[in-house]
């Protein structure tokens, strides 16, 4: 995760990963792009404050996570959007993207976020806990549960992450 610098260089280094994480968290290519855009727009708006953050990458991921959960909540209230979110509308010529979307659509938003950061961003449990400002035990629990829903072999210890 990058530290601060000028906005454009940060954008170029962080944005592609944010898009990927947004897609993986939301299960939608379009929504993932929107979320990453919004995240970077917010960073731009307050660049004087966040630009020098030592852990700017963590801040960006936290904003992204909040946007995902916000969007999920709104989606639950708005049937049309719900359809958009919950019916993996991946463009989704890509079979891997489609498969991932089908998997995560069964998960509640916080589990989507955690499992995406763990598998897609290769963050450790401790790093996820730091990024999301959650207790490590909570992250472990979310991972356990997500993996259980996804029928992932639990023999691989989360704590090793």
């Amino acid at each position: 995760m990058a530290a601060g610098g000028d906005y454009e260089s940060t954008f170029r280094s962080e944005y592609p990963r944010l898009v990927a994480l947004g897609v993986m968290m939301s299960g939608s290519v379009d929504v993932g792009h929107d979320l990453a855009q919004e995240t970077m727009a917010r960073a731009y708006d307050r660049w004087d404050q966040v630009g020098d953050y030592e852990h700017l990458g963590g801040w960006l991921r936290r904003v992204l996570k909040n946007l995902v959960i916000d969007r999920y909540r709104r989606a639950k209230r708005e049937a049309a959007t719900l359809d958009r979110l919950d019916r993996h509308e991946v463009s989704e010529d890509d079979p891997d993207v489609a498969q991932w979307s089908r998997l995560v659509e069964t998960l509640p938003p916080r589990q989507r976020v955690v499992i995406t950061l763990f598998y897609g961003d290769d963050l450790s449990v401790a790093e996820i806990a730091s990024v999301l400002e959650m207790a490590e035990g909570t992250v472990k629990s979310a991972l356990f549960k997500a993996r259980q829903r996804l029928s992932v072999d639990l023999a691989s210890e989360v704590a090793d992450g």
């Binding site: 454009e8 954008f11 170029r12 944005y15 592609p16 990963r17 898009v19 990927a20 994480l21 897609v23 993986m24 290519v29 993932g32 990453a36 855009q37 919004e38 970077m40 727009a41 917010r42 960073a43 731009y44 708006d45 307050r46 660049w47 004087d48 404050q49 966040v50 904003v63 909040n66 959960i69 916000d70 909540r73 709104r74 890509d94 891997d96 993207v97 498969q99 991932w100 509640p108 938003p109 916080r110 589990q111 995406t116 598998y119 897609g120 207790a135 035990g137 909570t138 629990s141 979310a142 356990f144 549960k145 993996r147 259980q148 996804l150 029928s151 992932v152 072999d153 023999a155 691989s156």
Partner: protein, 665 residues
């Protein structure tokens, strides 16, 4: 699919998406989007907000009122719902703050979409926190030989800004003194907020002067407003407060719905309010402080099965480790010592059934420590949890290495040693219907985590409150914003009927919660005093009023204005009504339940009558538990014709009421 396959799939998806990003186009879009969206979602909503169907009872909302310019929107005025551009507000803020000194202005919008660096830079105009603006609120001990002053070159900042403050300390005595300072922000009449980390200790020789620079990080999400700086010094091990600014919070952005989705209520904005149902009005508002509990050491963890599912409460487990000292090791489990022992994991103990389907595994770890694992569960899950549990030697701390299938830890940590608890309460009701009463309560340093408040044999649902895990049951919904900040919404029952507020309405309100500050709480208090709830349980604006209480033993007044006397005791008071009543029942309510004990009945009440109410502190044949028991009144109107409720007589007097309570010690 195993773990490696899932990781490989994730990497393929990640790489493919990253590879398809058009960086140049999206960079332009991000920058353009940020400008386009600036100011979105920013609304000012004032008391008696005019949004159709909604009354959002909050107070001063225009940023910055210090200095009292005519253009400042006062909290007592209805505030229009309008779009407001941050730039306009910022310029007002700057000009006002230039004339004041010992304040920390947080001018920036509270959420990222509306905060811009330009706006914030414009306000950080410099200036000193000179000590002339500070007053000593609690003198250092007589033995203190220190003098302390505080200066800073900044007086304002945006959320996430750091403001440096220099603390100069001089030892004027003849001995070496250890001193550590901690700088925070004080809200008026509230506890310290925004602690800036562990204090750094310095030792000063006689006549030595030292400086310490402390940075305040203005928290992300803090509301715009004016905050008071507080410096607390710790000389040796004796804490004492040195200086407090005289400034207080002036204003806060209270845009309720949009804000909460991106800005949780924080300890910087203690009280909370939501979208109150149409027709409701504030009927009380107060804050109170409960001293720190001196409970023995304990630790607990709460696990809920599938907490993210929006379905009724499922199995849960609570693990508790406590040090009972010399108390009965089977305290609370009579007869358990005579039951057979069972072994789960590394623990051997006994099984109790506190309610059908609620087993508890009780283990005596040694002479004083006890482990309990229980909940709405079964023995298999108890055993599974015990299997993954370790307990630290000679302490009450546990570690859950693995959780039973399907469970998730929702709360974990020490349950004792919590500090002073502060609560902000706002009550709402419709007409004079006790059954319509809604209470919104924010608690700083709650004694019990939300997860443990409502889990028990009674039905409880786990619900989502805008991303927070809430617990709904027994007429209330509770959720933790942070481990030290809890919000609770409660509906009340009246004498004989259930609340007219549904669970769904309670949840809807909870999902619209937004923070308010002490000033706004004061405004609500004033509004409530003008039209209090003196329940007649009729849909009328008339009321029964109690006044002029005297008592034996002598009455005292609590901080929230309620008059109390101890039991056994007798209240003598006047009860007046704005229209004839057929029957008036006077009783008490328990602090922990809605049970009513009738103490006196008036066959009729035409206007005003002096009554005596005596209570010996006995409830249901037993001495009542210690606590305050509010006196409640239920009345039946003589004329039940709905028209009788709406005459001039009924509405001409609408101020003042006296609340009283018996105190069982």
């Amino acid at each position: 699919m195993d773990d490696n396959e899932l990781r490989a799939l994730a990497h393929r998806v990640r790489d493919r998406v990253e590879g398809g990003v058009d960086l140049d186009t999206d960079l332009d879009r991000a920058i353009t989007g940020s400008k386009r969206d600036r100011g979105r979602n920013r609304r000012w909503v004032g008391i008696g907000g005019v949004a159709a169907g909604l009354v959002v009872a909050v107070a001063a909302v225009s940023l910055v009122t210090r200095g009292g310019g005519d253009d400042v929107l006062r909290s007592s005025e209805p505030a229009p719902v309008e779009e407001s551009t941050p730039d306009t507000d910022m310029s007002t803020a700057s000009s006002v703050f230039d004339e004041t000194s010992p304040i920390l202005d947080v001018p920036g919008p509270t959420t990222a979409p509306v905060a811009t660096s330009t706006e914030c830079q414009g306000v950080s105009s410099g200036g000193d926190f000179d000590t002339g603006g500070f007053g000593t609120i609690l003198a250092a001990p007589d033995a203190s030989s220190l003098t302390v002053s505080i200066t800073s070159q900044a007086r304002g900042g945006c959320p996430l800004d750091e403001v440096d403050v220099v603390i100069d300390v001089t030892n004027t005595g003849n001995e070496v003194v250890a001193f550590a300072s901690e700088l925070g922000v004080l809200l008026s009449a509230g506890p310290t907020k925004w602690p800036v980390g562990a204090p750094e200790e310095m030792k000063l020789a006689p006549s030595e002067s030292r400086s310490q620079t402390v940075s305040i990080l203005i928290p992300d999400g803090v509301a715009p407003g004016t905050y008071t700086l507080l410096v607390a010094g710790y000389e040796a091990s004796t804490p004492f407060v040195v200086y407090e600014s005289t400034a207080t919070v002036d204003a806060v952005d209270t845009s309720p719905r949009d804000l909460f989705e991106t800005m949780a209520p924080t300890e910087g904005a203690p009280a909370v309010l939501g979208e109150i149902p149409d027709g409701y009005r504030p009927v009380y508002a107060y804050s109170d402080v409960t001293p720190a509990a001196s409970t023995p050491p304990s630790w607990s963890a709460t696990l809920v099965q599938n907490p993210d599912d929006d379905v009724p409460i499922k199995p849960y487990l609570i693990v508790q480790i406590e040090d009972l000292g010399d108390a009965d090791p089977y305290l609370g489990f009579p007869g358990l010592v005579d039951t057979p022992e069972v072994t789960f994991g590394a623990f051997t103990g006994r099984l109790a059934e506190i309610a059908p389907g609620h087993p508890t595994f009780v283990v005596l770890l040694d002479d004083s420590r006890r482990l309990m694992i229980g909940g709405r569960t079964n023995e298999a899950d108890l055993a599974a949890l015990a299997d993954g549990l370790t307990v630290e030697t000679a302490s009450v701390v546990g570690e859950i290495a693995t959780v039973p299938d399907g469970y998730e830890i929702v709360d974990e940590g020490p349950t004792n040693g919590r500090g002073e608890m502060t609560q902000w309460n706002v009550g709402y009701a419709r007409e004079q219907l006790m059954a319509s009463l809604l209470t919104v309560r924010a608690t700083l340093n709650p004694q019990t985590a939300a997860a443990n408040r409502l889990l028990g044999p009674m039905p409880t649902d786990v619900v989502d409150i805008n991303g927070y895990t809430g617990y709904l049951g027994s007429g209330r919904v509770v959720f933790d914003v942070t481990p030290n900040y809890q919000i609770e919404l409660t509906r009340e029952d009246d004498f004989t009927e259930s609340s007219i507020i549904s669970d769904e309405e309670l949840l809807q309100l909870a999902r619209t919660i937004a923070p308010i500050n002490e000033d706004e709480l004061d405004e609500i208090r004033s509004t409530a005093a003008n039209n209090p709830l003196t329940p007649t349980d009729n849909p009328c604006v008339f009321y029964i009023r109690t006044s002029d209480p005297v008592a034996t033993p002598q009455v005292t007044q609590r901080a929230d204005g309620v008059w109390t006397t101890t039991t056994p005791g007798t209240f003598t008071m006047d009860i007046s009504t704005t229209q004839p009543m057929d029957t008036v029942t006077i009783g008490i309510t328990s602090p922990n339940s809605s049970d009513i004990i009738a103490l006196a009945v008036l066959e009729d009440l035409d206007d005003t009558q002096t009554v005596q109410v005596t209570w010996d502190g006995i409830a249901n044949g037993e001495t009542a538990q210690p606590g305050d028991y509010d006196v409640s009144i239920k009345a039946t109107p003589a004329d039940t014709n709905a028209q009788s409720c709406t005459g001039d007589t009924a509405t001409s007097e609408s101020t003042g009421s006296t609340s009283i309570a018996f105190q069982v010690t």
